[in-house]
Amino acid sequence: MSSSTHHPAYVHHFENLSEQKEAATFGMWVFIAQEVLFFGGLFAAYAIYRNLHPEAFYFGSHHLNIPLGAANTAVLIFSSLTMALAVHAAALGKRQQIVGWLLATVFLGSVFLGVKVVEYKEKFDHHLVPGASFQAGQLGMAEHIADPVLRGKAERASQIYFSLYFSMTGLHALHMIIGVPLILWIAARAWLGQFGPEYHSPVEIIGLYWHFVDIIWIFLFPLLYLIPKPH
């Protein structure tokens, strides 16, 4: 028996600790593959509807808050950096640094979510939340699309744009809301000294998850916020 089977984190049904670590990391990758397909359904719907209703998407997009969205993108990228630093610290076994970087990640994640709340509230105030109170008139298409038939079509379809906006960013935010307590839990375990150079899979795995959530946003931001004028 190698010494790695005596590590406190070792679970008996694995051959040894390194098999256990590999399995855990691989499991996270498979989970991420599943997540890609989950979001994939929405991305497919986005592609089809943007193609069918370019005007609705253009006008809808212009009522998003680009500065806030861009700032949030920076915040998230930065949080990926702090997460990477946490994983690095874990590999070196520096307990306080792991906790510090993880808490920094939680802080940045919370900033992102806070900004998202502000943005959602804006849409709410402007009656751009799909449902009974939705008012397409808010989008100001009247001045730009002269043909009333075309305008009516675009105004009706704009609700689809906002439905996709809310479901895609909402699902993304849900992933962050799940991620934050998980990071706190891992931080607590790090504080208790459970991770070191020999074993720190949980930090690596939560890191993978966080980077994945980040990457989803990197796609969402340009797709939803930065739609150019169709010709």
Binding site: F14, A33, Y49, A56, P130, R156, Q159, I160, S163
Partner: protein, 560 residues
């Protein structure tokens, strides 16, 4: 070689573990089951729950068949009839057939077959069962509130804008159960990659494991898409966003694309594990190495991959472009090739084998014939011109029942019988098992063959009334269904009986190859006393030589 047989036990059977420590008697009490992380106990939890769902789905089917005995809609009105076939379909597909072989036989056997103590993530395995149970519970609530009548396919805009039944609850139940399927797939993939015994290379894996690997890929890559699609239906129904409403710029056909992107691959979630069981049964009862091992292994992957590219064959008449239809039609022909490779290889394995006709083998032979009919009629339907005539008729119903019931359920029953001695440590009465297998085969064909004919003659599916000239064929079908129903009950009775009074099973009652037959029946909690090392290919039967009388494998040492 029979070492350390327990002394003072006159009934001692070599390799039987009922009087020793095993996974069943290792712990006691209901919580030891409900909170277990042992893959074998979780398999039993699934076995019990899906069996209950099977009989529930069967009850709905009985309602459908009774109504169709007469041409007039006299037993139930059309709304009730719509609910019957919808809930039959949902229960059978999502709550029985998708979990059946993977979650029961796969859970039990996969770790053992690869020489592992458990799946990679035992707690996630338990979690998957709870997802399943919560999904079932939510669906049952939907039933209590009056059920749902959209068809198991939930087509929009009917499901989003018109139906007055419990679409959201039913969809939510399926959504939740979907995560059980995803987590099982995830567990299997990681386990197969990372936990194989020393010496167990990919091309030494039992074909059962290959089949489950391919199935798991589909579960991982397909299920999330249907999950998010179902979510969209629920949100659209609640908020009327226009996602699938043409009046608001939405596209109802998008739903069909997303739904079938999962649901065609899902038909392979249902049949691939059955194909895996088939390879085990055929080799064990011909005592031969399977013909073309590599081809069978790779064809599972080919089915998983190509299966993702053919969903449009469900939409030939949905307004999809003719060119798209042609591509989907051609690809559907293509996906039949790997299926045919398997059928030919099993048949070739039979050739010059020492074939014996125990009950699991009877199901296996039934599978070959019925699956072939189901697959070939799939090709009829994949031919666009023919499908215009046969779409939404009973021909389609017969097609998929030949595969799902004649194929998948035959494999499931064959597998349950084959591994029953391993799972329970008891033998079942072979005579009754053969009687039941014959009756299932007869009942099945009597039920579904007339449906090919009546469908070809033009009887549409999903109506509770039909023209009088179709009555004879429908009465035949209902008679067959009654026989089939009884035939399914017989194994329930003798298998349950065997739990208490069946003869004790040795470690390897069939003289079969495979790691699962080298350990005691029923196995211990961690399956192996020592890490097994694999030194030979799968199915290394000495050809032409009956191994069933060879020395039994060493029994596990007695524990205090």
């Amino acid at each position: 070689m029979q070492t350390e047989v327990v002394k003072g036990n006159e009934e001692a059977v070599p390799g039987n573990g009922l009087d020793r420590e095993n996974y069943i008697n290792a712990k006691h009490g209901i919580w030891s089951w409900l909170l277990t992380t042992d893959h074998k106990r979780i398999a039993i939890l699934y076995l019990v729950s899906i069996t209950l769902m099977f009989f529930m789905g069967g009850a709905f089917a009985a309602g459908v068949r009774l109504e169709l005995m007469t041409p007039k809609g006299d037993l139930v009105d059309s709304d009730a009839y719509n609910k019957l076939f919808t809930m039959h379909g949902i229960v059978m597909v999502f709550f029985f057939l998708i979990p059946s072989i993977p979650a029961v036989l796969g859970n039990f056997l996969l770790p053992i077959m690869i020489g592992a103590k458990d799946l990679a993530f035992p707690k996630i395995n338990l979690l998957s069962w709870y997802f399943y149970i919560v999904g079932v519970a939510v669906f049952l609530v939907a039933c209590l509130f009056g059920g749902v009548e959209t068809g198991w396919t939930f087509y929009t805009p009917y499901s989003t804008a018109f139906s007055h039944t419990n679409v959201i609850l039913a969809a939510l139940g399926i959504f939740i159960a979907g995560f059980s399927s995803i987590l099982t797939g995830l567990n299997f993939i990681v386990t197969i990659h990372k936990m194989r015994a020393p010496g167990l290379t990919w091309f030494r894996l039992p074909l059962f494991v290959w089949a489950h690997y391919a199935t798991s890929l589909i579960q991982i890559l397909g299920t999330p898409v249907v999950a998010v699609t179902i979510l969209m239906v629920a949100v659209e129904r609640l908020l009327k966003l226009g996602l699938f409403d043409p009046a608001l710029g939405g596209d109802p056909i998008l739903f069909q694309h997303l739904f079938w992107f999962y649901s065609h691959p899902a038909v392979y979630i249902m049949i691939l594990p059955g194909m895996g069981v088939m390879s085990e049964l055929i080799t064990a009862f011909t005592r031969k190495r399977v013909f073309g091992y590599e081809f069978i292994a790779i064809s599972s992957l080919a089915i998983a991959v190509v299966g993702f590219l053919v969903w449009g064959h469900h939409m030939f008449v949905s307004g999809q472009s003719t060119y798209a239809g042609m591509v989907f039609s051609a690809l559907s022909f293509l996906v039949a090739i790997p299926s045919a490779v398997k059928v030919f290889n099993w048949s070739a394995t039979l050739y010059k084998g020492s074939v014996s006709w125990e009950s699991p083998m009877m199901y296996a032979i039934g599978f070959i014939g019925l699956f072939t009919i189901g697959g070939l009629t799939g090709l009829f339907l994949a031919a666009m011109g023919l499908d215009i005539h046969m779409h939404d008729t009973y021909f389609v119903v017969a097609h998929f029942h030949y595969i799902m019931v004649g194929g998948a359920i035959f494999a499931y029953l064959g597998g349950i019988h084959f591994w029953w001695p391993k799972i329970t440590g008891r033998l079942y009465p072979e005579y009754w098992a053969r009687v039941a297998a014959v009756l299932v085969f007869a009942g099945f064909n009597l039920t579904f063959f007339p449906q090919f004919v009546v469908g070809y003659l033009g009887m549409p599916r999903r109506y509770h009334a039909y023209p009088e000239e179709f009555q004879v064929l429908n009465v035949l079908s209902t008679a067959g269904a009654s026989l089939l129903g009884i035939a399914y009950l017989i194994p329930m009775v003798y298998l349950t009986w065997s739990l208490f009074a069946g003869k004790k099973a040795p470690a390897n009652p069939w003289g079969a190859k495979g790691l699962e037959w080298t350990i005691q029946s029923p196995p211990t909690t961690f399956n192996f006393d020592h890490q097994p090392v694999v030194t030979e290919e799968a199915y290394a039967y000495a050809e032409g030589h009956d191994t069933s009388h060879d020395a039994a494998p060493p029994a596990a040492p007695v524990r205090a």
